[in-house]
């Protein structure tokens, strides 16, 4: 699809969509969002990129092969689950660390649950892109 308007628009839209997807990912634990939704939004950014500028450019912009992103995400999710074993808990039990915790405020939470969600994000993101890119390249 050769459209100058779409191409220029995509430059901004793609970045915005990825940024928004990260926002959705992080807020997911308390507000609507999460890794699955974040991954879907992020992938639409690059799907748009591929439609406007071609898959070759999209692959270049992504740097890493989407299949590898998906498999890396699966690995991160698995590691986040196995981490619980170091504390004698059952597989995939969430482990939490609260930075600057005070009696009133929980502070900044870091958890294996977040890493698990990041893994989900990467799996969804990478899987969709590997299918879409491959289909586009077929044509």
């Amino acid at each position: 699809m050769n459209s100058i308007i779409l191409r220029v628009g995509t430059r901004y839209l793609c970045g915005l969509l990825v940024l928004f997807s990260l926002y959705m990912l992080i807020r997911g634990h308390n507000e609507p969002g999460g890794g699955f939704i974040g991954g879907l939004i992020g992938s639409t950014g690059f799907v748009l990129f591929a439609l406007a500028c071609g898959t070759a450019d999209a692959r270049n912009a992504l740097k890493i092969m989407p299949q590898n992103i998906a498999m890396g995400g699966l690995g991160i999710a698995l590691l986040a689950g196995i981490f619980a074993a170091f504390f004698g808990d059952a597989l995939f039990t969430g482990q939490w660390l609260f930075i600057n915790e005070t009696p009133d405020d929980k502070g900044i939470p870091i958890s294996t649950v977040l890493f698990f969600d990041i893994g989900v994000y990467l799996v969804v993101f990478g899987s969709i892109l590997s299918i879409v890119f491959a289909m586009e390249e077929e044509i």
């Binding site: 997911g28 634990h29 308390n30 507000e31 609507p32 969002g33 999460g34 890794g35 699955f36 939704i37 879907l40 939004i41 992938s43 639409t44 799907v47 439609l51 898959t55 070759a56 692959r59 299949q67 998906a70 498999m71 995400g73 699966l74 999710a77 698995l78 689950g81 597989l91 995939f92 969430g94 939490w96 929980k106 939470p109 958890s111 649950v113 698990f116 969600d117 893994g119 989900v120 799996v123 969804v124 990478g126 899987s127 969709i128 590997s130 299918i131 879409v132 491959a134 289909m135 586009e136 390249e137 077929e138 044509i139």
Partner: protein, 756 residues
């Protein structure tokens, strides 16, 4: 075999070859140290928890029966490993071979020692797999691959039946511990599931121990290197089935069906196999068929419950392992030295290979049942045991006598002729004596056969009595092992056996053509196997043609038609038709959504433009997303919207390649519309029926209450996904990755790769 390699590696393969021998010797020593306690009537039990929630433990039991097997496995294992270190010296894949053989030995030890049904099954399958790898060690030949696969399929299929039998047994008896199950023999024998359990377990043991009609894989398994045949296919693995029948004997024997099945299958296999053995000219094949005969005999005795039969079983088990392993190893030496195993070619080796000839002679005398060898005692006991059978003893005695006479002849063919008879035919290589590591095995095993014959008390106290105790529960029924039991019926039968055997040996060359005609006239199981596989493949091809003709629309039609029949059929069968719902709460907003979705669906079905159909489908999807928003499920709504968007993109990309819609005409549309309408109607009815039952809110409440305090999250959907049900989510994302990779692979393989 490679003689130069042997010369270059006088110690075989270095540490790689010696470590397994060390492992086997250590195990043998450990088992030997347990022997005095077991001979005293004690048994040792070791337990580790494995899957406690399912009642599965790694429990091991050392009693007379399992110790006898463990000593045979580790002892013969050590000798065979030492032997193969030289036999396969310099072989490029020796390390792999040593690994397979050692793994097999450990799996086999686990099998005979396991006291838990599931543990036993796991080891059982491990022996199947390692056996497959060992038979297929020469995987560069078609024959090797076919034999390995055949053994795997036959024993693997039996193992599945065995697993079913074990599960049935475990649930029927309320325990998976063998010792607990066998302690309630009366309950088991009276249980309504006794017959199914028996059939399933026997299916496993008969395939593993190659009883007729599953016997055909064992002679083919001789494609394996000779040490493997000596170890797996004579002394140990094929006896796993016999072991299991012996293990189950206290709990399941004594019924009519047990007696007749084992006795008839055993007797038939024994006679049938020994006739085939006489016909073989390849020494290894001849030994393979006599192994079948031995397995048949052991099965025959396990069908009984008398003290004589059990003593005969325990003795013959040891006798056979000793002489058969020795003879296989001798055949390996002959092959290694002369380059052939053909009985018609071999002759006059006695001068060149005196030690081999000595070992072969001792082993063969034991096999033929001459005094003062252990084989003689074994034979006397077998005759005493067979005469103790309750019904038709003379029929079975005649069968056993025939089989023994044929064994006598085969012993002569394998161990006498190659060494002491001159054939005048030139050998492929000039014979020479085998190196000592290859002689150690046959000599030690053959000498043990003679030693135990002269001092039968040794064997009686250490192994036979404890084994009989495992089988019958008490040691009193064990009969005495002695060389001279007086002038009685077994002695008379022995004399007849020797006379008949001598006649068969002298006339075996003239008998062979007649035997060949007889065997050729009988059904050929090995060819039947090939036909069975071919039929299976053509059936698969035929049903694929019917179910998957390659037209996507028909797949979808068939899938949805099946769903409709299942849904509608269930609704009607269960009489679950819902009543007309109460519509008073329906708002204008709801009606508008319904109208939007219906309009989208109707447009999709009627339009002749692909783009329009796709956009209309998008409308349906967005309408569904709006329903989620109205009923306050924002997470689901967002996901639905995003998925809709991506689907439109994907379909649009794919559409560019597709031909014009309806190029095959629109005849199928009315039928499709009816099917779609019916599916929609039945799903609606199912949902209405579901709504009529009160909604169980316990889970929802649980998650609402615990989400924040336990998982520090306010978005319940997300907390469930990443915390409470994280394992499920992990499974789902693994599926997503697999689907993406498969789609990628499919897209890439249909066309040659383009340069990016």
């Amino acid at each position: 075999m490679n003689d130069t390699a042997t010369a270059m590696h006088p110690t075989g393969n270095g540490l790689v070859g010696l470590i397994p021998v060390g492992i086997a010797l250590l195990l043998f020593g450990w088992f030997l140290s347990l022997a005095p306690a077991v001979a005293d009537g004690q048994s040792l039990r070791l337990v580790w928890d494995w899957v406690p929630s399912l009642g599965i433990a790694m429990s091991f039991l050392v009693d007379g029966l399992s110790l006898t097997f463990a000593l045979l496995i580790s002892g013969i294992g050590a000798l065979v490993l030492l032997y193969s270190n030289t036999y396969l010296a310099g072989h490029p894949q020796f390390a792999r071979f040593a690994l397979f053989l050692t793994s097999f030995m450990l799996a086999m030890l686990g099998l005979v020692l396991a006291d838990n049904l599931i543990g036993l099954f796991v080891f059982w399958e491990l022996t199947t797999i390692t056996s497959y790898l060992l038979i297929g060690f020469g995987h560069d030949t078609t024959k090797g691959r076919r034999s390995a696969l055949q053994a795997l399929f036959v024993t693997g299929a039996g193992a599945l039946a065995l697993l079913a039998g074990f599960i049935l047994l475990g649930f029927s008896m309320g325990s998976f511990e063998l010792s607990e199950i066998l302690a309630q023999a009366d309950v088991l024998k009276a249980h309504e599931m006794y017959l199914p359990i028996l059939i399933l377990i026997l299916a496993g043991t008969f395939t593993k121990s190659a009883q007729f009609p599953f016997h055909f894989w064992l002679p083919n398994a001789m494609a394996a290197p000779t040490p493997v045949s000596a170890f797996l296919h004579s002394a140990t693995m094929v006896k796993a089935g016999v072991y299991l029948m012996a293990r189950m004997h206290p709990g399941m024997s004594g019924t009519d069906v047990w007696f007749w099945t084992l006795t008839i299958a055993g007797a038939f296999t024994a006679v049938f196999a020994s006739i085939l053995a006489l016909r073989q000219t390849d020494l290894k094949q001849a030994l393979a068929y006599t192994t079948l005969m031995a397995l048949g005999t052991l099965t025959l005795f396990l069908g009984q419950t008398s003290g004589y039969a059990m003593t005969a079983f325990a003795t013959f088990l040891v006798v056979h392992s000793l002489y058969k392993a020795a003879l296989f190893l001798v055949v390996g030496c002959i092959d290694h030295s002369t380059g052939t195993r053909e009985a018609d070619v071999l002759g006059g080796l006695g001068r060149a290979m005196p030690v081999t000839a000595f070992a072969a002679g001792l082993a063969a005398l034991s096999m033929a049942g001459f005094p003062p060898f252990l084989g003689f005692i074994g034979k006397e006991l077998k005759y005493a045991g067979i005469l103790a059978i309750g019904s038709e003893p003379f029929l079975f005695a005649a069968a056993l006598l025939t089989a023994n006479a044929l064994m006598f002849a085969v012993a002569g063919i394998v161990a006498l002729r190659p060494f002491w008879q001159r054939t005048g035919v030139a050998l492929p290589r000039k014979p020479h004596e085998a190196p000592w590591p290859m002689l150690a095995g046959p000599v030690i095993l053959a000498v043990l056969g003679a030693l135990f014959g002269v001092y039968p008390d040794l064997l009686q106290v250490a192994l036979v009595d404890p084994t009989v105790k495992s089988l019958l529960g008490s040691i009193e029924d064990a009969k005495e092992l002695k060389l001279w039991a007086g002038v009685n019926m077994p002695l008379f039968m022995s004399i007849v056996t020797v006379a008949l055997g001598a006649v068969l040996y002298l006339g075996h060359k003239r008998l062979r053509p007649a035997l060949g005609r007889l065997v050729d006239a009988a059904p050929q199981f090995d060819n039947g196997w090939d036909k069975f596989l071919l039929a299976l493949k053509s059936f698969a091809a035929w049903q694929t043609q019917i179910i998957q003709p390659g037209i996507l629309r028909r797949y979808i039609f068939a899938t949805f038609a099946t769903v409709l029949v299942a849904l509608g059929g269930t609704m009607i069968a269960r009489q679950a038709m819902p009543t007309w719902p109460d519509l008073t709460d329906v708002t204008f907003q709801n009606i508008a959504l319904v109208v939007l979705i219906s309009a989208g669906a109707i447009l999709t079905a009627l339009t002749s433009s692909r783009i329009a159909a796709m956009a209309a489908l998008g409308v349906v999807g967005i309408g569904v997303a709006m329903i989620f928003i109205v009923f306050s499920a924002p997470d689901v709504a967002i996901t639905q919207l995003l998925v809709e968007t991506l689907i439109v993109v994907l379909v649009a990309v794919a559409l560019l390649r597709l031909p014009v819609l309806d190029e095959n005409g629109r005849d199928h549309r009315p039928l499709d519309a009816i099917l779609a309408g019916a599916i929609g109607l039945s799903v609606t009815l199912v949902l209405l029926a579901v709504l009529e039952t009160p909604l169980d809110l316990r889970l929802t409440e649980y998650f609402e209450v615990t989400s924040w305090p336990e998982a520090f999250g306010r978005n319940i959907v997300n907390v469930i996904l990443v915390d409470f049900r994280a394992l499920d989510t992990f499974g789902e994302i693994a599926v997503v990755v697999i689907a993406a990779l498969s789609a990628y692979a499919l897209l890439r393989t249909t066309h040659p790769r383009k340069d990016p």
